[in-house]
């Protein structure tokens, strides 16, 4: 994984000292809240319903065991003993005290972490395919390009005060596991007809109040031009994006109102000025960064060791877990392991300090000390020997991290909602817990199969509800929580925005409504059809009929 150089260290240390001074001045009354707020937000510090919330950056989701142990320490020493993994692969602490935050940032800096650009109208943490570097279907490792984007975008003088926040995601395979089509800029690593590897660039995707699927602005961009092309897009956006209305300030609205053809023309014109300038990527620098993501020293092993097969035959729970939570690895004899942060009845994405310490230790023992957080709010061990899977599973199970539900209905993406968030209009976590409880029978979940349920507590859509096969949006109706259901959304390479299926349901009725949707699917599905394929085949009508039959 990437290690800080002297510039990274200096930058982060300077920022800690700067924020310590700003905090002291605020506490002493030398800065007003209006003056201090933009400064704290630049350091990931929000004020939520109950307390401050600190969002810590995890670039493209990759952490070392030392970093995870530090997060555990922070959770225990400065917070209430837990943290929350977000849909941008970051972690949030919900209860830090302002007076402690400079010390927290200093602790983070000691393990090459920070909270810079986790808030504000700047380029946020670039996210990536959670199986980066190890997926069997990968064209190239997206983390290399995420890191280049991180270096280019960190404290970029031109792009620190954009019209609105800006999010970039990179996928390394044709199967999109990073939801790139719902980002301001989405990047897909691909090969051209001659076999040269480069990028497809998409622009103008997003969720929130006005959801859009990104459009392709460049079918194929040679690697060396990545940063100059991104710079050209950002320049056009920075100049033309609306600053008079925050609800229309994202690039998706600019692309929509300008039209993709005209927008492309503007970007290409801008790019011509800088195409072969200082941002052209030197091959040796790319190679240097690539070196930081070199594969670990794998052993020469074969797939399917006998001891694995024996365990799968003799232990049903283990066999289920290997079927649901593992992904094929490009290195023979190894597996990618999903650690579920969605236990039945749990809070999606939450992890206790004790679990963090346990996972750090297990990562050292079984996965070269590396952990990846996913935009689906789970964790990954990217390099586990297949012959170690049974031992690892037993220990994950003891720690509550082996729920075999990845990609199933209880693997819910869920924002913090009104239990924490000052923007939320309804609670989301308790509803997610009730849905999880309703489908607590894992056999039933396996029968239902892949079903992506995503839930947000307000229209800002941090829980990606537009992109859920089943999406749930919490709204406020005259002081009461109601929940609007959308169907047919998808975050992968067949990206789609879910359709509102009808009038919203009360909090008491929403879990029953989800159950009706699932039962309707089970009645309609043909062969082994997934929920989303059934929905796309039948359309909304049969679901509407069942949901609103009594009305």
């Amino acid at each position: 994984m990437y290690r800080y150089d002297e510039y990274d260290h200096a930058l982060v240390k300077q920022r800690v000292a700067q924020f310590r001074d700003q905090t002291q001045r605020r506490l002493a009354g030398g800065l007003t809240e209006d003056e201090f707020k933009p400064l704290r937000l630049m350091n990931g510090l929000y004020l939520q319903l109950h307390a401050y919330m600190l969002r810590v950056a995890i670039p493209y989701g990759v952490m070392s065991s030392a970093q995870l142990r530090k997060l555990a320490y922070i959770a225990r020493r400065f917070d209430k003993g837990y943290g929350h993994f977000t849909t941008r692969q970051n972690i949030q602490f919900n209860w830090p005290k302002l007076e402690d935050v400079p010390e927290i940032l200093e602790e983070l800096a000691s393990v090459e972490m920070h909270a810079i650009q986790t808030s504000g109208n700047c380029i946020r943490n670039t996210t990536a395919d959670q199986y980066a570097g190890v997926a069997a279907d990968e064209v190239e490792d997206p983390r290399v390009y995420c890191e280049l984007i991180r270096q280019w975008s960190t404290l970029h003088p031109e792009f620190s005060f954009l019209p609105r926040k800006f999010k970039i995601a990179v996928a390394g395979a044709s199967q999109d596991r990073a939801a790139v089509r719902f980002h301001d800029i989405g990047i897909v690593i691909r090969s051209d007809d001659q076999g040269e590897v480069g990028f497809e660039i998409l622009v103008g995707g997003g969720l929130g109040r006005s959801p859009f699927v990104a459009k392709t602005i460049r079918n194929f961009l040679p690697k060396k031009h990545l940063l100059s092309y991104l710079e050209a897009i950002l320049r056009v956006y920075n100049q033309l994006g609306r600053r008079d209305n925050k609800y229309k300030a994202r690039i998706k609205v600019l692309v929509f109102e300008t039209g993709i053809d005209k927008f492309t023309q503007l970007v290409e014109e801008e790019w011509r000025h800088i195409e072969n300038g200082a941002l052209t990527l030197p091959a040796e620098e790319v190679a240097r960064i690539k070196g930081q993501f070199a594969p670990p020293p794998y052993e020469d092993l074969e797939n399917g060791p006998p001891e694995l097969g024996v365990r799968q035959q003799t232990d049903t729970d283990f066999a289920r877990w290997t079927l649901i939570n593992l992904v094929p690895h490009k290195q023979p004899g190894y597996a990618i392991v999903n650690l579920s942060l969605k236990p039945i009845d749990g809070v999606p994405g939450d992890m206790t300090a004790e679990q963090m310490d346990t996972v750090a230790g297990l990562a050292e023992r079984y996965s070269f000390g590396e952990i990846t957080s996913t935009h689906e709010q789970n964790l990954i061990f990217a390099h586990v020997r297949q012959k170690d899977l049974f031992d690892l599973w037993r220990q994950l199970k003891k720690a509550g991290l082996a729920t075999p539900n990845v990609g199933l209905i209880s693997d819910i993406i869920c924002c913090p909602g009104m239990d924490y968030c000052s923007l939320a209009t309804a609670r989301s976590i308790p509803v997610a817990q009730r849905i999880s409880d309703r489908f607590r029978d894992l056999k039933q979940q396996y029968d239902i199969g892949e079903l992506r349920l995503k839930m947000s507590g307000c229209i800002n859509a941090c829980g990606h509800h537009h992109a859920g096969h089943i999406g749930i949006l919490g709204v406020d109706r005259k002081g009461e929580e109601f929940y609007q259901i959308t169907l047919g959304g998808s975050a992968d390479e067949n990206a789609a925005i879910g359709q509102v299926i009808g009038p919203a349901f009360s909090s008491d009725a929403v879990v029953d409504a989800v159950t009706v949707v699932v039962e309707t699917y089970l009645q309609l599905r043909q062969n082994a059809e997934r929920f989303i394929d059934t929905y796309w085949r039948t359309g909304p009508e049969p679901f509407k009929e069942k949901l609103y039959a009594a009305h």
């Binding site: 004020l47 007076e99 049903t316 236990p343 809070v347 720690a399 002081g479």
Partner: protein
């Protein structure tokens, strides 16, 4: 008018606080002073807004009874009484019964 109390977040730790009858700030909603008169609450709000120890003070509607002060809006009830689910809990995974 509806009954009102004044709330804010405390600067140093961000925790929710309520204005008491003596002009202090308490984390307990039961300590809050209840205003019957809008002019009175607005006057106290202005004074509190100028103080450095709190962030964004505002008035909220409440009901009283049984020696309890309960905010009318759910958002404020959550601020007063905390998240509505258990937090910071490790949950053990279920197992599947053998077929």
């Amino acid at each position: 008018m509806a009954l009102q109390i004044i709330t804010a977040n405390r600067l140093g730790d961000g925790f929710v606080v309520y204005l008491t009858a003596l002009g202090a700030l308490s984390q307990r909603i039961t300590d809050a002073v209840v205003f019957l008169d809008a002019a009175q609450s607005e006057q106290r709000l202005t004074a509190l807004g100028a103080a450095n120890g709190v962030i964004d003070p505002y008035a909220i509607e409440v009901t009283t009874g049984d020696n309890a002060i309960v905010p009318v809006r759910l958002r404020e009830r959550i601020r007063a009484f905390g998240p509505t689910m258990e937090t910071g809990r490790a949950v053990l995974p279920l197992t599947v019964a053998a077929a």
